[in-house]
């Protein structure tokens, strides 16, 4: 297993570079699953999202979730990168990659990491409306809690 990459950063990430970092020089990986979450424009109603995080705790919590996934699904490697700050429609927000010997572990690992990033990593999204009205904080969804609960 390689040491997982965990980063919280304002700038964008390069999906291919992050996949290469997990796979270069290895012959034991049979599956790579990556997930990229993007900012939706909500049919033109949204001008940007503002991502706030709890510095220190965000990284710690992401690492804890990734370590659980590695242990549970016998992943070979994993990466989780979450952006903060202002993010406009069409731009990337989050990247999760899981590598494993076989596809099911890689799919499940990436899915597990995303489900728990949503419900327990300390990030909050605020919407800035295209018409310039005051931003609303996005409300947590019960469907995200249900998604995480399926792994219990």
């Amino acid at each position: 297993m390689t040491t997982p990459t965990i980063r919280v950063q304002p700038n964008d990430f390069d999906l291919q570079a992050e996949v290469d970092a997990l796979t270069d020089g290895r012959t034991d990986i049979g599956a790579v699953v990556s997930f990229v979450g993007l900012c939706r424009g909500e049919q033109g109603k949204l001008s940007a999202l503002e991502l706030e995080h709890y510095p220190g705790m965000a990284e710690t919590e992401m690492r804890r979730i990734v370590d659980l996934a590695i242990e549970r699904f016998t992943l070979i490697g994993a990466t989780a990168i979450h952006r903060h700050g202002r993010i406009e429609p069409g731009q990337n927000i989050v990247l999760v990659i899981a590598t494993a010997a076989h596809r099911q572990a890689a799919f499940d690992g990436a899915n597990f990491i995303m489900d728990f990033l949503k419900t327990s990593a300390p990030f909050w999204k605020k919407e800035h409306a295209a018409d310039g009205t005051a931003g609303n904080w996005i409300e947590a969804k019960g469907i995200d809690d249900k998604a995480a609960d399926k792994w219990l």
Binding site: Y54, K118, A121, P122, W137
Partner: protein, 85 residues
């Protein structure tokens, strides 16, 4: 005891501070006691903590339940349910 509090998202906006150090009475033992004490500190706290059950708390940057004792915590994070990802 003295407590270092840090606030995030709408809890931060409603209280109007990112962090503060406050002196707590001895009657404040658990996270639940802390939220109830803070709620009584003024209108802005009342607005932020109107529904304490939805508020999430981290002691030394680890999630805890509301019945957890806060003794010994260097940093107490108070924030709404998370909406990242």
């Amino acid at each position: 005891m003295k407590a270092n509090l840090v606030y995030f998202a709408w809890v931060r906006e409603r209280i109007g501070k990112t962090e503060e150090e406050i002196e707590l009475p001895e009657t404040v033992v658990t996270v639940r006691d802390l939220l109830s004490h803070l709620k009584g500190l003024g209108e802005e706290y009342e607005n932020a903590l109107e529904y304490p059950d939805v508020i999430r708390v981290a002691l030394n940057q680890e999630h805890v339940e509301h019945d957890e004792p806060i003794a010994g915590a260097r940093e107490i994070g108070i924030f709404p349910p998370m909406t990242g990802g």
